[in-house]
């Protein structure tokens, strides 16, 4: 990702952004090329997280740029160009996700903790190993990504938008066209389910 980061840093200052915006509005080809070169890596990254197919992710990024080009005249400059584009790309990816046929998913209920009649946990939880150290291991990162992919879609998207893309509850609600309470409930269930999937691998007692 070294290339993408250095390009990003070169384009970040607000003055440059104002100039770039003026050039874009004037229809300057070089400005469009610079915009696309600068932002494609980050937008592709978020689209790939939401969509599992590379082809779909690239299509979503292309659709996002096309829709951004159309509305560049209306861009207020209140937020950074990168923030604005990121949101358009998330929207494009979510739209693609909705249009796709759902595959068979694990039910979330199976992955939530269970309780006895008196409200106490039916299975006592065990302590986990150090997460920062575990995350250094490639096989652990693979496992985490595979586990996130196993979550039912409506939970996975909330987890991605809230915990990974760091959108607020309200922004996530708007992007997914659901209410804020549904975002909170789904996020909590998604984390609980992911915790259950990771638990056998992360227990201190396991190898």
């Amino acid at each position: 990702m070294a290339d993408a980061i250095s390009i990003e840093n070169n384009a970040a200052s607000p003055d440059d952004e104002g100039e770039l915006l003026a050039a874009l509005r004037a229809g300057d080809d070089a400005a469009y090329r610079s915009l696309v070169m600068t932002h494609t890596p980050a937008l592709l990254t978020v689209a790939r997280r939401i969509l599992s197919s590379e082809e779909d992710a690239r299509d979503a990024v292309q659709e996002a740029f096309v829709s951004a080009f159309k509305s560049i005249a209306r861009f207020e400059g209140g937020s950074k160009l990168s923030t604005w584009l990121h949101r358009i790309a998330v929207n494009a990816a979510l739209m693609k996700l909705r249009s796709r046929k759902r595959s068979q998913e694990t039910s979330i209920e199976e992955l939530l903790p269970t309780f006895r009649d008196d409200g106490h946990a039916s299975q006592p939880s065990s302590r986990w190993r150090d997460a920062a150290a575990e995350a250094q291991r490639r096989e652990v990162r693979d496992l985490v990504r595979q586990s996130i992919d196993r979550l039912p879609e409506i939970y996975r998207t909330v987890l991605l938008l809230r915990d990974i893309e760091e959108y607020s509850t309200e922004e996530t609600a708007e992007l997914l066209e659901i209410n804020a309470n549904a975002v909170k409930t789904r996020l909590h269930r998604a984390r609980q389910a992911l915790r259950s999937l990771l638990d056998p691998h992360m227990r201190e007692t396991s190898a």
Binding site: T40, L44, V61, R195
Partner: protein, 81 residues
């Protein structure tokens, strides 16, 4: 307080949104329930692992910017004009 209640409101507890009296009830439960201490620990580590696996080191993501995608996007702009 039961484990069920503790786990249901774990996010409010973590984010410090609970009123003082409720927060104390949560603290009290944690003080005598090692299982919920572990559950909370794993819940927070789950969030951290997600971030670390997807944001900082997504090994699936190739490093180079795909040139053909960039050309396709620029061509789509020309077509749309």
């Amino acid at each position: 307080m039961t484990c069920r209640e503790f786990i249901e409101f774990i996010e409010d507890y973590r984010s410090g949104k609970l009123p003082e009296a409720q927060r104390q009830a949560f603290d009290l439960h944690l003080g005598k329930c090692p299982s919920c201490v572990c559950y909370l620990d794993g819940y927070e580590k789950t969030i951290l692992l997600g971030r670390k696996s997807l944001c900082e080191g997504d090994d699936r993501i190739p490093e180079e910017v795909p040139a053909e995608l960039i050309e396709a996007i620029l061509a789509a702009r020309k077509k749309g004009e």
